[in-house]
């Protein structure tokens, strides 16, 4: 067991972890933060997306011991039922989910994606890599969110919710 200090949603938690424990399992099984979901557990579906120092990652492929001392944000830290994040409100308004299993990953991923866009990061569909400003078109949102699957097919609502928050 390795002592690991995880800083999650502003609170520092001291855990003793086997190095095999993924960040996802540490959050869900050791800290009880079950808002982050385990879908494929191999980095393909995006349900486990969390923010680390503001950047989105797949928590299922992250060993928890690697993230000691980093600033981790899960969906529980994004908003709560009594004070929803604007993006959560838009997911409700725009019908951005049906079963809801992928939603926490979609929202954390979208927050990371919007930060990447604000920082000027291009994507595979950006026409001019040298452009000073990149317009966040529907094509850009779809490409940048391709790491998050929704088996209910709520993509139209997801893109709509992100567009509304980006504006």
């Amino acid at each position: 067991m390795i002592p690991v200090k995880l800083r999650v949603n502003g609170t520092t938690e001291l855990l003793a972890l086997d190095p095999r424990v993924s960040l996802l399992d540490a959050l869900r099984e050791h800290l009880g933060l079950t808002g982050t979901k385990k879908g494929c557990n191999q980095g393909a579906c995006g349900a486990c997306t969390v923010l680390v120092d503001g950047e989105r990652i797949a928590a299922c492929l992250a060993l928890a011991v690697q993230y000691a001392g980093r600033d981790i944000t899960t969906i529980e830290g994004v908003g709560q039922p009594e004070h929803l994040h604007p993006l959560q409100q838009q997911f409700i308004s725009e019908d951005g989910f049906q079963c809801g299993f992928c939603t926490s990953g979609q929202i954390c991923s979208a927050l990371g994606m919007l930060a990447e866009h604000r920082a000027g990061m291009p994507s595979a569909v950006t026409p001019d890599l040298d452009a000073a400003e990149i317009a966040l078109t529907e094509a850009e949102i779809k490409e940048r969110m391709s790491g998050n699957l929704c088996r209910c097919g709520a993509y139209e609502g997801i893109v709509g919710a992100i567009e509304r928050v980006a504006r």
Binding site: I2, D18, P19, R20, S22, N41, Q42, G43, G46, T49, E55, R56, I57, A58, L61, A62, L63, V65, Q66, A68, S109, G112, M113, E116, A119, G120, M121, P122, S123, A124, T126, L129, D130, K142, E143, R144, M145, S146, G147, N148
Partner: protein, 351 residues
Amino acid sequence: MRPFGYLSAPDLPTALDAVAAGARPLGGGTNLVDLMREDVERPETLVDVTALPLAGMDELPGGGLRIGAVVRNSHLAADRLVRSRYPVLAQALLAGASGQLRNMATVGGNLLQRTRCPYFRDHAASCNKREPGSGCAALGGLHRGMAVLGTSEHCIAAHPSDMAVALVALDAVVEVQSVRGTRRIPLAELHRPPGETPHVETRLAADELITAVELPALPVARTSRYRKVRDRASFAFALVSVAAALEVRDGEVVDVRLALGGVATTPWRAREAERLLLRAPATDETFRRAAAAELAPAVARPDNAFKIELVQRTVVATLRQLATERSSAERADGTERSSAERADGTEGGAA
């Protein structure tokens, strides 16, 4: 997952000692952790190298670029200098994986990622990479995604990296360190074709750690492009891909770099095609002949034979596009010129 020891290396000497003692370097874990969970990779100890001071990018005297081995794929793709001087590299990185995985994956880890051949991770099937001498299930099995260049009768698995295809086109050099010292390996020589030993994938010694990748100053790279053809529009490995840089003067190819992905067992520098392109007229016919010559030694099976034609067409399309577009430097010049023309009214007058 089997138990393993874990060490986060605070400095390079600690990391090199650990690697010399048999530890496997761990970057973002996007490939290694996945394969450990599948019991394909079985390291006894991991040494986390992501805290090492190898996350920097530095311009080299003379205009090249040194990229630390633990620079994240997303940060490399977003770098302004990479985007203007080596657009093919930024495009290749952005064409790979997803936003989440690009934020995790490191440059060194990307170079050492293992194949996506389904039999490599299927313990019920034979695989000479996973279990030397057991045979290759892909030869008589599902092989649509497999390689057609650099294969052997022991392995036809394709190399999965997009980034490495761009880097090999750009004459990248890999810096590796060990407790014995430092050496530099041209990226084109880092990966080994499968031959009789498909499980030996690189020329790294067991105690060596990739510490940096260096790109030379390469003016032709300002006009460069990565084109990837895949089954989905995004977040899929390449069926075929092309990394190309091209400079045309008075209708003649005066400089060219070309590499292929998805079709070969290693990141494939297309040297035969380059030889035929250089000093030849920049026409579709030249592009077609060069692509055909590169693919002449290809060995296909029924379900991946389409790659031979597809990659040739992709080469032609990519070179044609580069031949008709100006470099970013020329574009910048053009912008200045036209705004100057607008300022003195000559643009309207000329029309």
